[in-house]
């Protein structure tokens, strides 16, 4: 299945892109998608321990199972306000 990944702020800077698309087997989790994104990213990058993830605008656990067509956002520490 195909998952669109968005990267933000410092994470985007490290990865060298704000948008990735990964191909994963059915049943793949958020953690699997992050691993794959790190593998294919234009630059080498490491997910910080404080990373959060959201699928279709809702925060999810890294163990959450993805569905074809999901948009997965990788969210480094937020700092609005």
């Amino acid at each position: 299945m195909k998952i669109a990944i968005k990267l933000f702020a410092g994470l985007r800077d490290r990865a060298g892109t704000g948008d990735l698309s990964v191909e994963l087997d059915d049943g793949a989790t958020v953690a699997d998608a992050i691993d794959e994104a790190q593998r294919i990213g234009p630059r080498q990058w490491t997910a910080p321990t404080s990373l959060m993830a959201a699928v279709n605008n809702e925060y999810v656990e890294f163990s959450g199972v993805l569905s074809d067509g999901d948009e997965l956002a990788l969210i480094p520490p937020v700092s609005g306000g």
């Binding site: 933000f8 702020a9 937020v78 609005g80």
Partner: protein
């Protein structure tokens, strides 16, 4: 009212949006780019938002404080892009019959915003730049 915009914020728009004849208390909070942080001079900030998730999370926070406190209306605006010293990055207006719940709810809203709303702030300081909350992102000015 939820506004995310790259244009200057106008607090009166939000304050007026929450007024109601049933309300005895109206709070307007402004978050402003200040000229210093962590002991060094700040030149300007730059905000990035992940939309529409940021809008949805702001709406959830409005619902959260309305559930928890006796308040009436809430309006919030967040700016994106470059925000110079003295300019507003955030405006929140809250109305209520009585002042105490309005204060508690407004403060809670901002605390939560800084936890869950996908908006990021990059600080351009003298000699470098850094994404706030992500010290590993710091680099000297190119």
């Amino acid at each position: 009212m939820i506004i995310i915009t790259d244009q200057p914020l106008v607090p009166n728009t939000l304050t007026n949006a929450v007024r109601d004849d049933t309300d005895g208390a109206v709070i307007t909070f402004e978050g402003v780019t200040r000229n210093h942080n962590d002991g060094r001079g700040v030149e300007y900030l730059e905000y990035e938002a992940y939309r529409p998730m940021a809008d949805e999370k702001l709406q959830e926070l409005i619902d959260e404080i309305k559930d928890r406190w006796e308040i009436d209306k809430v309006a919030v605006a967040h700016r994106t892009g470059r925000v110079d010293i003295g300019e507003l990055s955030l405006v929140i207006a809250v109305s209520a019959a009585h002042r105490r719940p309005a204060f508690e709810a407004t403060l809670h809203f901002i605390d939560r915003l800084k936890e869950v709303v996908p908006i990021w702030k990059k600080e351009y300081f003298e000699g470098g730049e850094v994404w706030i909350g992500d010290p590993g992102s710091e680099q000297a000015t190119a």
